[in-house]
């Protein structure tokens, strides 16, 4: 074992690998920060560029892009309420309010360290528990995915904040939006208004861009991005280490969210966005008195950040141990691995152990590279807050429209972003929370598709659900959490 590790260290410790990792991370952060450019696109576009590289630098570049792109969206989510990637939308619920209180630096620092903690914990799990986790994750069938979606939806009680009714209205709206598009079983087109572009459902990224970025600019109008003026006078210095109080406060939340994120990421079909939203909801559900979630609570930044980088490592578990990708980015990574002569799967660890452990080392270093890059570029990013807010607002709106267009190259998606921008303005005016709507849009399709698949498998009997222990346990926990949330609400009200 020692011999294997020494050999792996030799593969990782080279200047080329380090440079490629840093370069990949920086490129990834830019891609992640731009709405409309995703981690999947970045990795797919850079794969052909790695043809001429040795295998280790090539993998370092791609892993760097993956880690950087997943993190990069959070920077813009915190500073401009413009999530660059779906996963980073969960960070803005508390990250942006914290920035508006003049603590942009603190928010970025908490985000960067939580993401690094999540990634490192996830990679350690990957090293030591890969066989166990992959067995657990692969035991997920339609029943388990359905139960997971229900569990996620049950947290809406916690996400709703002041008015459970308004939260429920937003969630039902999200579920209705999730029914748009082709029926997952029969293929019948539903509510597509004659638009071919709605066949695959409401495009999620344009909707997200509209709901946050476009709505933010519309609401702020001549004032520029809301509160930017106050924030620019606040503390822009990004501390290298988060304040000790924050570290103590968020430590356990970050660890718990990393574990959650890793397991969710390992399940095929559930990626960073679901991990981040679930972790945020769980953190919020367990909030103690005095924690003001939605108004700049540090734990509300730590939980989704830790979970989504945990999910990156989690997605590597089935990829490396079984050759099965956990999400769309890892599906492209499989191709890149094969291109360089590595066949991911059970034989990788047995026959090419040094290489396998070197890849794990690169994943771990990728998260460290994100931490280093984010702390060094944070000053540059916060400087944008001092720019004329009108220019920032115009830039964000132009970029949002273009980003919505670019994701599929369809002009209709700009109209979706615009419509969701108006919806976002209306929801903010009426005091309707955005989180339940988004969560329902993410999970609605997953719940429906898996529920119906399960019914097909069990030839129409829902009792099948209770022969699957993991699914049954998740459903019981969801029921308990809804009841507990309602009771707590009644006790307070």
């Amino acid at each position: 074992m020692i011999e294997v590790l020494r050999e792996s260290a030799g593969l990782v410790a080279s200047l080329d690998v380090g440079l490629c990792l840093l370069l990949g991370t920086l490129v990834g952060m830019v891609i992640g920060a731009i709405p409309g450019l995703t981690a999947t696109m970045g990795v797919a576009l850079l794969t052909p560029l790695t043809f001429d590289l040795e295998i280790m630098p090539a993998l370092a570049l791609l892993v760097g892009v993956y880690c950087g792109a997943i993190y990069g969206g959070s920077i813009t989510a915190i500073l401009f309420r413009t999530p660059g990637t779906p996963a980073s939308a969960a960070t803005l619920f508390d990250g942006h309010p914290m920035m508006r209180c003049g603590e942009a630096g603190r928010a970025l620092s908490i985000a960067a360290w939580s993401a690094a903690a999540g990634g490192i914990i996830g990679t350690l799990l990957l090293v030591f528990l890969t066989p166990q986790i992959s067995r657990f994750a692969l035991s997920f069938g339609p029943a388990e995915f359905f139960a997971m979606a229900v569990f996620g939806l049950s947290t809406i009680v916690a996400l709703s904040g002041e008015s459970l009714l308004k939260g429920a209205v937003a969630a039902v709206g999200g579920l209705l939006l999730a029914t748009v598009g082709m029926d997952p079983v029969s293929g019948y087109p539903r509510f597509i208004l004659g638009q071919a572009s709605l066949m695959e459902g409401v495009p999620f990224i344009p909707a997200l861009i509209g709901l946050f970025a476009v709505a933010e600019v519309f609401c702020a109008r001549g004032g520029g991005t809301a509160g930017a003026g106050a924030a620019a006078e606040g503390n822009l210095r990004v501390p290298v280490f988060p304040p000790a109080a924050d570290a103590r406060r968020c430590g356990w939340t970050a660890v718990r969210s990393s574990l959650l994120g890793t397991v969710v990421g390992a399940a095929p079909g559930a990626g960073c966005d679901i991990a981040a939203f679930l972790a945020y909801s769980v953190a919020r559900q367990r909030a103690r008195a005095g924690e003001r979630f939605g108004e700049g609570e540090a734990k509300g930044i730590a939980a989704p950040e830790a979970a989504k980088s945990g999910a990156i490592s989690g997605a590597m578990i089935p990829l490396l141990s079984l050759g099965i990708p956990g999400d769309s980015v890892t599906a492209i990574l499989v191709g890149a691995f094969v291109l360089h002569g590595v066949q991911p799967g059970p034989l990788l660890f047995r026959e090419h152990a040094p290489l396998a452990y070197a890849i794990l080392g690169i994943v771990m270093l990728g998260h460290v590279a994100v931490l280093v890059c984010s702390l060094f570029t944070a000053r540059l990013m916060t400087r944008a807050l001092k720019a004329d807010p009108r220019f920032v607002a115009a830039g964000i709106l132009a970029l949002s429209m273009l980003g919505a267009y670019a994701i599929r190259g369809q002009a209709a998606d700009m109209a979706v972003a615009f419509a969701f921008g108006l919806l976002g303005v209306a929801m903010r005016r009426g005091g309707y929370p955005a989180a339940p709507l988004l969560l329902a849009m993410i999970l609605g399709g997953m719940a429906e598709e898996n529920f119906r698949r399960m019914l097909i498998v069990s030839s129409g009997s829902a009792a099948f659900l209770f022969t699957r222990p993991i699914a049954a346990a998740m459903l019981l926990v969801s029921a308990a959490s809804v009841v507990a949330g309602l009771l707590r609400g009644r006790a307070r009200g």
């Binding site: 891609i31 731009i34 409309g36 450019l37 696109m41 576009l45 803005l92 619920f93 942006h96 309010p97 508006r100 996400l159 709703s160 904040g161 002041e162 008015s163 308004k166 939260g167 519309f218 609401c219 702020a220 109008r221 001549g222 004032g223 520029g224 809301a226 003026g229 919020r284 909030a287 003001r292 979630f293 939605g294 108004e295 807010p389 009108r390 220019f391 607002a393 115009a394 830039g395 709106l397 132009a398 970029l399 429209m401 273009l402 267009y405 002009a411 700009m414 109209a415 615009f418 921008g421 108006l422 929801m427 309707y432 929370p433 955005a434 989180a435 339940p436 988004l438 707590r488 307070r492």
Partner: protein, 96 residues
């Protein structure tokens, strides 16, 4: 547990912003609709530059030359990032 995710009270500085007029709220949405209508016909570069400059104007920025220059610079950067680097085809129209 207090507070509501994703909903914030209206920013205190919004009304006292540089445009400050009560009727300003509809300007940016109208510009967006105009942009979507013009984009396939005029092309990405020119319509984005005009759209950005018009937005600056709508928000009360009165230096026309600078606004146009900013719009053009933004359009060039975005064109480079999306079309050249990420190879996303952008509408060309008759002015590019």
């Amino acid at each position: 547990m207090s507070g509501t995710a994703g909903v914030e009270p209206g920013p205190p500085g919004a009304v006292s912003g540089t445009s400050g007029t009560a009727g300003g709220a509809w300007r940016l949405p109208v510009l967006c609709v105009a942009y979507m209508a013009v984009l396939p016909w005029l092309g990405f570069m020119s319509s984005t530059a005009l759209f950005t400059a018009a937005m600056l104007g709508a928000m009360g920025y009165r230096r026309v030359g600078r606004a146009l220059a900013f719009g053009l610079a933004l359009a060039i950067v975005l064109h480079w990032v999306f079309a050249v680097w990420m190879q996303v085809p952008l509408p060309e129209g008759w002015l590019g």
